[in-house]
Symmetry: C2
Subunit: 230 residues, 2 copies
């Protein structure tokens, strides 16, 4: 039986834009595990109340459920040890640092470029929740946070420099092949791609080429997703 | 025969303060390889001319020599596969990202807190070289770069947030045990510790506790080094 994944969706239920759910989607694909995604909106708290909290991703695997993308990654690695490892065969180690850099630096930085696009993409019933929760997080209005992105993009690209240096040295963060380190960082760019036509990366950036390799991975799983081909 | 390591030294030849040489020192210790360090000053270019370049670390291992800390790490892993792995048993993978974050973000940020202390610690014969090369890199004078560090320390501690999040979750960047990911980042803090009495970390910071574990590692190899116990 396929693993069920509660997956953040927009007004169009085919628009799946959570960076954390993308981490899980690609981890499941890496392990070759079948998945049935269930579109979920921010305010559908009752649908995942069984998990004791209100955010996705949540997976249901037979009698087990797991929430939180990192916990899901650990669960998949432990539960399916005979499938290809998402952690290069060992403990996650430095992959956890990639996770925390993405959460603390990359995604908050990226959010200010796509905030208006996310607001436009979500289900209308989620609008009040999204505005209230995100304005609290941002410390300002959505409109103010979105302002002047063309002028800020250079500074954002500077923040990507560690990523760029690594991807000049190796094809993937995982090395010669992608692993969960790649899916974490890629999830952030896929979040943007699913909702926003704004061009974050220049075509000659090694990060752009790497993103292209991941859009193509697993028969184009991410590349075929509803979004903007920028 | 012990591996020889050309190791950056200050006016006091016992002061070994290169962050890159510390990466190598700890990698050698992790592999249990004997080392003979050779104190080296910035302007001793002739002593390492055999390596075709002018920077340390350089190691000499029998008939082989290797320069550049990353290349040395790869060399040690490949040449001594039966010794404990510094890369968690596989390819470096995400450890390369830790390396590039340290080079591009952590060390440039940290340098502005210790620049005057480094200038005071180096061999007098290196002073003109150090000023010229570092002022070019900094785009300002050493004195200007050093100014007002007490006022800037909060912003620097914010930059450590990804590290802090990881070290709240696991004892080391490598996981339950340290590996080369730890030695890379620790090298930056050890660089500071060897030259500067300035307190970079608060005692309740998980990064401080982690640094302490690495100061104690390998019978206190780093903790016993000449420096400032802050």
């Amino acid at each position: 039986m396929a693993i069920q994944l509660y997956d953040l969706a927009g007004a169009d239920p085919d628009r799946r834009f959570s960076p954390y759910c993308w981490r899980t989607r690609l981890a499941l694909a890496h392990k070759g595990l079948a998945v049935e995604t269930i579109p979920w909106c921010f305010t559908d708290k009752d649908k995942i109340a069984f998990s004791g909290q209100g955010r996705v991703p949540v997976i249901v695997d037979g009698d087990a459920w797991v929430n939180d993308s990192w916990a899901i990654a650990l669960y998949l690695e432990k539960t399916y040890p005979d499938r290809p490892s998402i952690f290069a065969g060992g403990a996650p180690g430095a992959i956890r640092f990639v996770n925390d850099w993405t959460d603390a630096v990359l995604q908050p930085g990226l959010f200010r470029f796509i905030v208006a696009d996310v607001a436009a993409a979500i289900d209308p019933k989620d609008r009040a929740y999204f505005r209230q929760s995100r304005e609290q997080r941002l410390g300002t209005t959505l409109e103010e946070a979105a302002r002047g992105r063309e002028d800020r993009i250079g500074a954002f690209r500077d923040v990507l420099q560690p990523l760029r240096l690594t991807l000049r040295t190796q094809e993937f963060l995982g090395g010669a092949k992608p692993n969960y380190a790649d899916y974490i960082v890629f999830g952030a760019f896929q979040w943007a791609r699913c909702v926003s036509p704004f061009r974050l990366l220049e075509a000659d950036d090694p990060v752009y080429a790497w993103r292209g390799r991941l859009l193509d991975a697993f028969d184009g799983l991410a590349g075929k997703a509803l979004g903007f081909p920028v």
